[in-house]
């Protein structure tokens, strides 16, 4: 009998997980996304408030000088140090924001695989599978959209 070599399609290569493992993927993905999202928010907050911190530190510097805790040169040194720290506080956003973007995307990939695995699992009821594929599509849409269009921002007041 002649052997037939069946080439696996892209769909077959998809990492299909059982129900429990898929749920784990979703939970870990969400946790990763939350941690990096939190990092992004903290980093943004530090950057935005760099000027406020500099104003506070400068006033403290003036008070220390006027009180004679240190002299003119120490005052100047501290002033330069404050400026340097404030610039770093503003700039660190660039570094941590990009790290957070990568982290969030990794988290979302986990979530995506989890939902896709739900969607292709024939042991799960039809409605859940449909919902899962819609959510997976949404996650993918957000990932692609936020990766390709960096100027999108959501402001919550």
């Amino acid at each position: 009998m002649e052997k037939k070599q069946v080439k696996a399609s892209l769909f077959d290569k998809l990492p299909l997980l059982d129900k429990n493992r898929a749920a784990k993927f979703i939970i870990y993905g969400i946790i990763i996304a939350i941690i990096f999202g939190l990092m992004m928010m903290i980093s943004y907050s530090i950057a935005v408030n760099a000027g406020q911190w500099a104003a506070l530190a400068n006033q403290d510097n003036y008070l220390n000088y006027w009180n004679g805790f240190y002299g003119f040169n120490d005052f100047i040194e501290r002033q330069e140090e404050i400026e340097m720290i404030a610039l770093w506080m503003a700039y660190q956003d660039v570094i941590f924001m990009n790290i957070a973007r990568i982290g969030i995307n990794i988290g979302l990939v986990f979530v995506l695989i989890g939902f896709l695995s739900f969607a292709v699992n024939d042991k799960i009821d039809e409605n859940t599978r449909k919902t899962s594929i819609i959510i997976a599509g949404l996650v993918l849409f957000i990932m692609i959209f936020t990766t390709l269009f960096s100027s999108i921002s959501v402001t919550i007041n």
């Binding site: 784990k24 009180n67 003119f72 040169n73 005052f75």
Partner: protein, 219 residues
């Protein structure tokens, strides 16, 4: 259980190291070389050999803070700073301090509370004189450029000389505090970095240990 106790102790040590950083930084920010009252003779006005002389060395990016004060009637005290070479030359020749050339410039502050115009509070000069009463806060790094310090490493000597117009009393009384920059900043940074690094390492080790012990992978 034993591991948990071990990790708790390690976390505690790391936190202590982090807290120690700013404390050590504060205490080692300045090294006090001299903090005492001095009595010198009026003959110091005519011969540098009789003047109070305190030597110190400055390395790159290091400065000295000198607090010079006197509160005694009839006393006129002068403070100058020389490089070690100039001082040795003057010492060998028994030169009068007032006629030595080559005094180093420093910056002194006049703290005026609430005045944000700092240009009116800091001045450069090569001598500070106190007559009967006075206090000067001096910063010295080897030289100046305007009212700003210029860092020139080297060996220097603080010299105080003066006169007493009180007749039979020929003594000059004054107080001197000399501090130089210490390794406080570096110590603070080092301790914080070590503490935070240790905390992260402990966290990672504890997580790996827990997963290994329970036989669970991440997924």
């Amino acid at each position: 259980m034993e591991n948990i106790k071990k990790y708790k102790i390690l976390v505690l040590i790391s936190v202590i190291i982090i807290i120690l950083g700013p404390i050590l930084g504060f205490f080692f920010n300045k090294i006090i070389l001299v903090n005492q009252s001095f009595v010198t003779s009026e003959t110091s006005n005519n011969d540098v050999q009789n003047a109070t002389a305190i030597e110190f060395t400055l390395v790159k990016d290091q400065k000295a803070v000198i607090e010079f004060s006197a509160f005694t009637e009839n006393v006129t005290a002068n403070l100058i700073i020389l490089s070690k070479g100039t001082y040795d030359l003057a010492y060998a020749a028994s030169t009068a301090p007032g006629s030595i050339t080559g005094e180093k410039y420093f910056v002194y502050s006049e703290f005026t509370f609430g005045d944000a115009n700092l240009a009116g509070q800091a001045f450069a000069d090569d001598i500070r004189t106190i007559t009967a009463e006075g206090y000067w806060y001096i910063e010295f790094a080897g030289g100046v450029d305007g009212d700003y310090l210029r860092y020139i490493p080297g060996d220097y000597v603080v010299i105080v000389y003066g006169t007493n117009s009180g007749g039979i009393n020929l003594n000059i009384y004054f107080d001197l505090v000399i501090k130089i920059d210490g390794p406080g900043d570096i110590l603070e940074l080092l301790f914080i970095l070590i503490g935070v690094g240790a905390l992260v390492a402990i966290m990672l080790l504890a997580t790996i240990g827990y997963l290994k012990k329970t036989g669970r992978g991440l997924l």
